[in-house]
């Protein structure tokens, strides 16, 4: 038990990256603009001027940073957004794929189990369509009808 406890204490060595810690802090503290209220007047002093200076530094940094937005970054953003949309479309297609697959297999097995050809089979219909010669001679109509039905 003691060994596990002391080993667990070693996990305290886990520390956030310094860069992340700093950026997170800056982002956090600049995320709401503090409107000086009555408390500000009550607490004039070193802590106040430090806070104001920090806000000023952050404000200047933010402007400099924002002005470096590039159209190239936005285009890359659009590219990645489009990619995500594509993924969504792929997943949408997959949703129906399985049920199509199940139907296909079922039909295949029915075909293997049954007598005679399936008259909705594509190849069969295409073959028949090619062999159909459409002409105006009424005598052929019955023959044509027979071909289609049988």
């Amino acid at each position: 038990m003691k060994q596990i406890e002391s080993q667990l204490k070693n996990l305290r060595k886990i520390r956030p990256d310094k860069g992340f810690a700093l950026m997170c802090r800056e982002d956090l503290l600049s995320s709401t603009v503090v409107k000086p209220g009555i408390d500000l007047w009550r607490n004039l002093g070193l802590s106040l001027s430090l806070a104001l200076t920090a806000m000023l530094i952050v404000f200047v940094a933010q402007n400099a940073a924002v002005s470096s937005y590039s159209i190239a970054s936005l285009e890359k953003f659009e590219e990645e957004t489009t990619l995500s949309r594509d993924q969504i479309n792929i997943t949408l297609a997959e949703i129906n794929y399985h049920s199509d697959l199940a139907s296909k297999t079922s039909m295949a097995l029915s075909e293997a189990a049954a007598e005679g050809p399936s008259h909705l089979n594509q190849n069969l219909l295409m073959k028949e369509a090619e062999s159909l010669k459409i002409d105006s001679a009424p005598d052929n109509v019955d023959i044509l009808l027979d071909q289609v039905i049988l």
């Binding site: 996990l11 886990i14 956090l28 503290l29 600049s30 408390d39 920090a54």
Partner: protein
């Protein structure tokens, strides 16, 4: 607890960013560690940690310290965000894929084997049930009291003791199996 934490909290509630910044400095390593040990992914841990403090800063006016430690409040926010993360069932990158200790962050005097051993332990912690993980991290890594831990996970102090005991037994078993 941070010295004069109560005063800092009052000032932060009043909107003083610098006061909250000091609270952030104090609790960032703990919250980050907690989230990293639960998610096993450094990038996710950074994102979630950022969210924890953002949420805390935005809602600090709602925090009421009557018998409810600030640390517990932060941990509860962290816990809820981690639950949301799991609910989304993101692919879980294991610690094998992202070293928790990049070589240059290890104390040069520390034996490399110790670092590997600690990684093994971190993996074992990751295999515990969610509540057991939470208790272990809070109690032994971040040294919260039983009372603070109970407040954070909304269970009784007795329940925390029981969970802690079970978790330690499981960790022992997992560490033995890994050898």
């Amino acid at each position: 607890m941070l010295e004069d934490e109560r005063n800092l909290i009052i000032r932060a509630k009043g909107g003083e960013a610098e006061a909250f910044g000091l609270l952030y400095d104090e609790y960032l390593p703990k919250i980050y560690r907690f989230v990293l040990l639960k998610t096993g992914h450094r990038e996710e841990a950074e994102d979630l940690t950022h969210q924890v403090f953002l949420q805390a800063w935005r809602n600090i006016r709602n925090y009421d310290d009557r018998g409810y430690p600030f640390s517990s409040w932060l941990y509860r926010i962290a816990k809820n965000l981690v639950v949301d993360y799991y609910r989304r069932l993101r692919p879980n990158v294991s610690l094998e894929d992202c070293r928790v200790f990049p070589a240059d962050e290890v104390d040069p005097e520390t034996d490399l084997d110790l670092s590997r051993e600690t990684e093994k332990l971190a993996r074992a912690v990751g295999k515990l049930r969610d509540t057991e993980q939470t208790v272990i991290i809070m109690r032994f890594v971040d040294e919260l009291s039983i009372k603070e831990t109970a407040a954070a996970i909304e269970k009784s102090e007795g329940a925390v003791k029981l969970i802690q005991h079970r978790a330690i037994q499981k960790l022992k078993k997992l560490m033995t199996e890994e050898k």
